[in-house]
């Protein structure tokens, strides 16, 4: 019998619709794997029994017409889920149960997807290795000589869960690369849509002008299907975009003939491992062979992207996280007066990295420093946007590696925040410019670790991005080499 958990999302839904398996069988197959996979620590909260009973209800209803019928889906623990604990992997929200459902997850359940749990991440999505979670490290299903590796971050639980077949697909959030970098580290597809494509309502906010929800999936078609479901205008989010959309999945095509692909010279950074450079050349070669036109382009302000990001994101975060004050929800550590209660609650409730970013953010917004940091960063952000606007006069998509290295070991960068932040060097520009970008696994390095390429698209042109990624995917035929060593 087919191992149902090896099917892609599109395949498993077809299975259910064609009655090759029931929704309950599909969900149960995942439940079984999840129960044997605690070692990976992907889940903050599991909701397995409910998932099975929901699947049985779908089976009993005999209505199998919904887009995600019966698909067991765990989501990043940043999406508020009604009646299910939502922690943002932080101690301060460790007891928080929302009375409401985020727009994005609501859309999943409306299409008869089934929640099976909430996935671990960096605390408040701040991190690139999932090491800042209050609930422990997530392990990458890929290892280096039997040594554990980080899954990337912040959507590390999401990435490992998809790669280890613990969820049929998932939604993560991407503020500076939090979907794409872990996707790259675990050999899956991760898509950050255009800012405004998906509603942010009900997602625990990190940096409001950069946060965007997006799919993390086994392949490109799955990503297209997920985007079909979760995207759309939401009047509850003033930054969501009212754009007409057709089905990304139905419009997907393997044709890049005449597509103009930009290769930005500024992404060829110092000390980039040869394997990453070779990977990039390989991507260029594939696209060329398929009829695309490769163009060298320049995005001159790229080198300022990382510092810009690490001013804007913490600034917004310092304000967004002010609401976690022990007054209304979450944990409270008492004190002799209000100020001491705040200090105790926030000292105890937040981890080190979150505190660091609150401090940075508070500093850059302070009177006397605002102009030099925050305002300047906003100006540079505009220049970075203009870089892309200019580039898109000549090209349709832009090709780069997703990350400068493959997955690394635990503790490798924890003592040096700057080294850790460098992980985001290729990904933050898409967030700063609000553009869509996708990470796509291409091959394994000599150590058997996945290497991925990234494509940037034009604003609200996810279709071209998906088409290009699909075309490369067809060519490289990347297959999972996860070995279930933890079972």
């Amino acid at each position: 019998m087919t191992d149902l958990t090896k099917l892609t999302l599109v395949e498993s839904i077809k299975h259910v619709k064609d009655k090759k398996c029931s929704a309950a069988e599909l969900v149960s197959a995942y439940v079984k794997r999840i129960e044997k996979s605690d070692k990976l620590n992907c889940f903050n909260t599991k909701d397995l029994e409910n998932a099975v009973s929901k699947a049985k209800k779908i089976d009993a209803s005999k209505k199998l017409d919904k887009a995600l019928v019966g698909a067991p889906i765990a989501v990043k623990d940043l999406f508020c889920t009604k009646g299910i604990k939502t922690t943002a992997s932080s101690k301060i929200l460790s007891n928080f149960i929302p009375t409401y459902e985020s727009t994005v997850t609501e859309k999943l359940w409306n299409e008869d997807a089934i929640l099976i749990g909430k996935l671990n991440s960096d605390e408040f999505a701040m991190g690139s290795s999932n090491e800042t979670s209050n609930f422990g490290n997530v392990l990458n299903p890929y290892r280096l000589n039997n040594e554990n590796l980080v899954p990337g971050g912040s959507s590390g639980g999401c990435a490992s869960a998809v790669a280890a077949d613990l969820t049929s697909a998932t939604v993560g959030t991407d503020t500076g690369g939090s979907i794409r970098q872990p996707a790259a580290f675990t050999g899956i597809v991760g898509l950050k849509p255009t800012y405004g494509r998906c509603s942010r309502w009900g997602i625990v906010a990190f940096a409001s002008s950069l946060d965007q929800a997006g799919p993390m999936t086994k392949d490109v078609k799955d990503a297209a299907l997920m985007l079909d479901v979760i995207s759309g205008y939401d009047e509850k989010d003033s930054t969501s975009a009212n754009k007409p959309k057709s089905s990304f999945l139905n419009s997907i095509k393997n044709n890049v003939k005449g597509l103009r692909v930009g290769v930005p010279k500024e992404y060829r950074v110092d000390n980039m491992p040869k394997e990453v450079d070779d990977l990039w050349q390989e991507g260029i070669k594939i696209l060329k062979e398929n009829g695309a036109v490769i163009k060298d382009i320049s995005l001159p302000h790229t080198k300022y992207a990382l510092p810009t990001y690490y001013i804007i994101a913490p600034a917004e975060a310092s304000s967004n996280l002010a609401r976690y004050d022990g007054v209304r929800y979450g944990i409270r550590a008492e004190g002799k007066d209000l100020t001491e209660m705040y200090e105790n609650t926030r000292s105890k409730g937040f981890g080190k990295e979150v505190k660091r970013r609150i401090m940075i953010g508070t500093y850059v917004l302070s009177s006397g420093y605002y102009d030099a940091y925050y305002l300047k960063a906003q100006k540079v952000r505009n220049l970075i946007k203009m870089d892309f606007d200019n580039a898109y006069k000549d090209v349709d998509v832009i090709l780069t590696p997703t990350t400068p290295t493959p997955a690394f070991k635990f503790g490798a960068n924890t003592d040096d925040p700057i080294a850790m932040y460098l992980n985001d060097i290729f990904t933050v520009t898409a967030n700063l410019a609000g553009l869509p970008a996708i990470s796509l696994p291409i091959k394994y390095n000599k150590d058997g670790l996945p290497l991925s390429l990234q494509l940037f698209g034009k604003s609200f042109d996810e279709q071209t991005l998906l088409n290009t990624a699909y075309s490369i995917e067809q060519q490289v035929n990347f297959k999972s080499q996860v070995k279930d060593w933890w079972m």
């Binding site: 999406f79 508020c80 939502t86 943002a88 929200l93 928080f96 929302p98 009375t99 409401y100 985020s102 942010r200 309502w201 009900g202 997602i203 625990v204 906010a205 940096a207 409001s208 002008s209 009047e235 509850k236 989010d237 003033s238 930054t239 600034a315 917004e316 310092s318 304000s319 996280l321 002010a322 609401r323 004050d325 007054v327 209304r328 929800y329 209000l338 705040y342 508070t362 917004l365 302070s366 009177s367 605002y370 925050y374």
Partner: protein, 488 residues
Amino acid sequence: MNDKEFNYYISGETGKWEVVIGLEVHAQVSSNAKLFSSSATKFGSEPNSQVSLIDAAMPGMLPVINKFCIEQAVKTGLGLKAKINLLSVFDRKNYFYADLPQGYQISQFKHPIVGEGEVILDMPYGTKKIGIERLHLEQDAGKSLHDQDPTKTFIDLNRSGVALMEIVSKPDLRSPEEVAEYIKKLRSIMRYLGTCDGNMEEGSLRADVNVSVRKVGSKDFGTRCEIKNVNSIKFMQQAIQYEAKRQIELLEEGKKIDQETRLFDTKKNETRPMRSKEDAHDYRYFPDPDLPPLKFDQSFVDGIKKKLPELPDDKKERLIKDYKLSSYEAGVLISDKDTSDYFEDIAKNSDVKLSINWVIGDLFAALNKIGKSIKESPISSKNLAKLIDLIKNNTISGRIAKEVFELMINDNRDPKVIVEEKGLIQESNVGELEKIIEKVLKENGDKVAEYKSGKDKLFGFFVGSVIKESKGKANPALVNDILKKKLS
């Protein structure tokens, strides 16, 4: 003292001082929903009964601008003859407090929705123009209740997120009287527009008062202190008087004024420091990334302009012109839209002179006595108009009218019915009047003799006696005529 001239100067030991005042008025926008959420805004509701997920700043909640509040702000801006900014930006003002759920207030800092405007004051010494610096929209905070429990503070978030307009004046005010007039005028404009009910008891209108002093003739501003959150005109005036005196004393002792935020203690009638400039919050203002800049086009503004009601200043001019009122009378009427509406209801079809006298005389006095506003007046404008018509067409005398008015206060009955029921119709039959007059003259033969010998003043006595004899019903004008003839 001559009140036709500005004279609010404070004499100190070193000379005369002038007080410079600027106000930041916080006016609650009249709206059924909050600025960024759909929660209700009713005053006096059960604590925490008007709180949405957004108002409580639950994780992942996002603000969505209430378009009606934008219209209200634009309307108010137009009422202040101010520049409307087609692009404005909402900023976050960051600070921690238990009744501020988000940890920041959404306000407008660098780019307010309304720019410079003006308010005209009618002072005894002439009109005075007070500049408006800006008007911006912001959220109100919740309320901390410290007196409900010996050790705990309770939080009521009903007000959290309610839309406020902060209206900042230029430092153009120079006396407590001007401040009172300014607040009244501002309130009147907003009530005409329906943008703020101006109810100070319910906290719909309150102000931060900036006070500084300088020697008369000096062009430079002194160091100012800001007195926070004063919620009545009387308290504003008291706070200014105290604060000006305090500053003058300090300066005359050769000391410096610290720029600081102060509170007015209404019980002790004094201001005291709340926080100094050093302890001042660093609010870390920055544009709210959850809200794109607020943009609208001129046609949106023009649409609102077209529907703008008549405003107090225009109305005053019109009343003077249409009804030939004095500036004083018109001024009294327009200070409250309900009053001028009431007056016009009557005056458009009745005698104007009688209308104005009855409204700002007897009616005001009666309302004052029973503690009701003109909107709650027990006598409808329709019935008061009827009463005035009865006087005008000589059906009843002014004296009888006062009696009828007293009865109307109780039950708002049609004065015609009262007059008929009680047989109060004025006696205008010459024959009947002559009979009464004959009787009075006969009974007062001695006084008639005195009158005829030159004591003219007795004429009033005869009139009064005749009216009395007629139980007030005699037509005074006719009585006059007949008496004159009889006594000549």
